[in-house]
Symmetry: C2
Subunit: 243 residues, 2 copies
């Protein structure tokens, strides 16, 4: 199968959750917006979405071209890829459970994005900083502990199974790795203060980081650095609210 990922080259964003699945399984894929040439590059994403002849037009990026199919919504892409990349459980009930967890990761990601963009995606951070401070104060005090406590519970705590679904690696584990990486970048002080309360999440992160294909990817040029344009952004004044 020929896989083409369409996602802005400006930041890791939601595309990274799909990249990690490809990288872990050493699956060939084209990262279309990061390539040059005809039908490639950043403009290819917008051009593709606006194509009026598309049978299944995506609402937003990322989306995946898998052969002739076009699939949107990050969690939906992983639902599709999971069994094909051997990153999902075999039983249907467990696949639905993996997807349910991925949707909960997606909900948390949206709330993380809203820490710096609480009132309008069309405004800059500095134009909504007052609102961002209020949002983030509540996020770090109430929402983040609720999500992390939930994921820790799903992992079974420090004596748990070491992965999110059953006893085998799934795409959800790769997403949990990325989630903790991003949280550490965005909120380094806050995370340092609370991480000891989530030993299973930290252990899962560390186990993923040393998997050979992931470790090689993280060192490669294909892995973008976190920056101030993605979901995870480091603004010290927001991080300070967690102390």
């Amino acid at each position: 199968m020929r896989y083409e990922l369409y996602y802005t080259p400006s930041n890791q964003g939601r595309g990274e959750f799909v990249r990690l699945a490809f990288e872990e399984t050493a699956t060939q894929y084209l990262d279309v917006a990061r390539m040059s040439g005809r039908g490639r590059g950043p403009e290819a994403v917008a051009r593709f979405i606006q194509n009026a002849t598309l049978k299944h037009p995506p609402f937003a990026q990322p989306f995946l071209k898998a052969g002739r199919r076009v699939i949107g919504q990050t969690a939906n892409i992983l639902l599709y890829l999971g069994p094909r990349l051997a990153l999902a459980p075999k039983a249907q009930a467990e696949r639905l459970w993996a997807h349910q967890l991925q949707l909960t990761v997606a909900d948390l990601l949206k709330e993380i994005q809203d820490t710096h963009h609480p009132v309008a995606h069309g405004l800059y951070y500095h134009e909504q900083q007052a609102e961002a401070l209020t949002y983030t104060r509540h996020f770090l005090a109430e929402r983040l502990p609720k999500y992390l406590g939930y994921f820790e519970r799903v992992l079974g705590g420090a004596q748990g199974r070491g992965c999110m679904v059953g006893t085998s690696l799934s795409y959800v584990d790769l997403s949990m790795f990325q989630l903790l990486e991003g949280l550490r970048f965005a909120f380094p002080q806050s995370m340092q203060r609370v991480e000891s309360g989530y030993p299973a999440i930290v252990a899962l992160h560390d186990a993923i980081a040393v998997r050979p294909n992931i470790a090689a990817y993280l060192k490669s040029e294909r892995r973008m650095a976190f920056n101030d344009r993605g979901i995870f952004r480091h603004y010290p004044e927001l991080d300070a609210l967690g102390s």
Copy 2:
């Protein structure tokens, strides 16, 4: 199969998207939090989530008990129910497409909820009214037209197919009905002003409303009224921003 829906009895909320699928297909289900007796009532939801022995604990409501299975995340519940209630297409590729659309509906619902709760779910509306005004101004001007324009495009416009996926009724159509109902309740002036731009969405809504099982449900006591505790809330000062 014995279906039990767990969702707060205080408002329609996300539970309503599941109820509509059951009602359209005249499927028996228990609306647990709205019943009385042992293991029933509003407290049953929280008690269920906190049950430490659950294999697949949901993060939040709604969740569905289907026999011995527990399934969370509204779109995931509909992904599961769709084929079982004959409300999903037969082909796997089309099922994934239906789910992708449902996830986009879910994204819009979250943004609608944020119009009145932009900075913290733990605060009251009147405590974040200033932020709500800013959020809603951008939502009505930029986000809502983007979503509605997308759904109108998926429907193929006024001369389109009349349903969201293929040429048969699916759970996505029921969700689109509820979406327009809710938007009309929350933003009556704004919707009246813009609805003519979305003839296919309005036609779909009207076609769903007169389906016998849906029409009977809407007149029944099982259908709660919209109120000021749900996703869709009517605050005239927010609606006025769309004019």
